[in-house]
Amino acid sequence: MNGNGRTGAAGRRLMLLVLSVLCIAGAQLASMGHARAHASLVRVEPADGAVMAEAPKAFRLTFSEPTSPLVLKLIRPDGTGAVLDRFTLRDATLDIDAPADLGHGTYVLSWRIVSEDGHPVGGSAVFSIGAPGTSAALAPGDAADWQVRAAVWAAKVALYVGLFIGIGGVFFGRWIGDGTHRVALWSVFAGLAAVPLSVGFQGLDALGVPLADLASPVVWATGFSTSYGKTAFVALAALVLAAMAGVDRGAAGKGLSVTALVVAGLALAASGHASAAHPQWLTRPAVFLHAVGIAFWAGALVPLGAALASPVQGEGSAALRRFSRAIPVAVLPLVVAGVLLAAVQLRTPEALWTTAYGKVLLIKLGLLAALFLLAAVNRFRLTTPAARGDGRATARLRRSIYAELVLVLAIFAVAALWRFTPPPRALAEAAAAPASVHLHADKAMADVAIAPGRAGPVRASIAVMTGDFGPLDPAGVTLVLSNPAAGIEQIRRPATRDSEGVWQVEGLNLPVAGQWTVRVDILISDFELVKVEDNIAIRP
């Protein structure tokens, strides 16, 4: 409460100051006439459009004359803005401390300063850490580093083994079987070892740097800042819970094992292609159910097989009966969620064989068909005699369960490949139609197309004409974009004329979606400039 009170008082003081500034500024405006001093930006570090491997420690703005900052803002890749309030002003140079937690993605440094005459001047610089883009989940480029990819893949498989075989196995041991099988516990430990490493690998992949850079702190910071960081964190919690559940034989162990199972589902729902798909209210719960179902099934295989081999009479058959009663409850949501996610991701049946994502899914479906066949044989042919205590059926069932385990591991290995294949849904979104707007003035017009018409790296094409649709060959064209609602001041880029007479701006980056103000400055001749302006909607 005390803190709120202080903030309120500070806010009121600030309001008073702002008001007094406005009053004085108004008086100045009235008395000053036309002689105005505008500070113009001489240099910005990092430069507008820069792509750097490491997060900058500081930003520097150099103006043509002394200034005072009014607002300094950093807009992050997720669209949130933060006020930068740690800076030092030396004459015309403004040194701004960068926040320490800058991850991979595209940022906008936006400033509004007041120059000597009290005239506020604003501007923005867009820069990227790692690679330009708004989403860390985009597919890596063609120049893939196979070592890093193999490491990312292996860590992912290990994560699956830890979450499904490990946590699922611990759950089985606590609720269905009799105690924790050592394979389940070892799988949990394998997961515990793999998850932190996978964050580093993720960082390497996001930054596009080789395996040798694994020790670099920025790699880890980047890994954590991607959406996968959340998954890793939650998965780690799930694995720790499972390790505790694995050694506690009491009621606490039972509770912990359920919690671990739920948290494992949440971990996988926290990131990945499927969780990123829309509508999220549907996809995230679907991923959760899918994951929990897999853990229940896959985790049961090792301890169930072991129980069936147990010399203790009746131990295996009791576990088998309980398992076969519970399994439909787990498999039905698993299948429904899986079909739903595949439909969302594929969009069209052709995508199954025309895209890399679809091909991976086809292989997975083949393995799944074999798995379900085995499972059906186990359940409908072998379970009943084995549960009665038939020795031959039990031996066959055990072999069949181990075959299922092999198939499950193969499915994990295949599913981990999805990390490298953007789903057709994402590909379709990437190829989305451009956003366009027609800008009109008496002397000149411009047709601006921004492709793709969504936040992230884009290019702009500008066709200019005279006011009556005649040809126009201007001396220069400048594109000026701003997003007042997001606090992004003008981003200016000169356009270059292509061979067809269309003016192009490459390497543009629109960090946030929403209504952008687009202005085109057409320099008709050395002494004649026409500015046309309107709004354009940029999709998320």
Partner: protein, 175 residues
């Protein structure tokens, strides 16, 4: 409190009224009667984003005749002549053509120095009093950099509404 730290100097600056430095190219004398000779002093306070000014080009608006630039040490002055849109009366002499652009080049004015470029011209009676006359100026710097003070405010707007307004001269009634 950091926000306060940034606002206080702003207030101090505003209160003392700092108007001397000018990033815009402006005219020293911003008011003149029509049918008179006017000495235009273009004040150049800055280069192009830190670069030195190497060329200053002034477009002479219609209705301004008998233009004579003042020579400037270290600079070459060029007078671009052309036909006017109509014939103007210069103390009884019909004038159809004359200087339409003045170019000072060959010098180098660093970004952190100030200079003035001067011309003298006759403001004809065809110019309407109580309007503003604009002299578009292009300031060129090395490496293709340029500042174009060429925006002419639309009806009802002032120079402050524009990023790069042309220097303006308020015309008043003949004395």
């Amino acid at each position: 409190m950091n926000i306060l730290k940034s606002i206080i100097p702003a207030i101090a600056l505003l209160a003392t009224g700092a108007t001397a430095a000018s990033a815009h190219i402006t005219l020293e004398n911003q008011q003149a009667p029509v049918q008179s000779t006017y000495k235009a002093v273009f004040r150049v306070g800055h280069g192009c984003e830190g670069k030195p000014t190497t060329k200053v080009r002034v477009r002479i608006p219609e209705g301004v005749i008998a233009v004579k630039p003042q020579p400037k040490a270290g600079w070459t002055v060029e007078k671009v002549r052309g036909e006017y849109a109509k014939t103007y009366d210069y103390y009884g002499t019909p004038t159809r053509e004359g200087v339409k652009e003045i170019v000072w080049s060959g010098g180098s004015l660093p970004d952190d120095e100030y200079d003035e470029f001067v011309l003298r011209a006759y403001l004809t009676g065809d110019l309407k009093p109580d309007t503003t006359l604009y002299f578009p100026v292009v300031q060129e710097c090395p490496d293709g950099a340029a500042e174009r003070w060429i925006e002419i405010p639309a009806e009802g707007k002032g120079a402050d509404d524009y990023e790069q307004p042309a220097p303006g001269l308020k015309l008043i009634q003949k004395k």
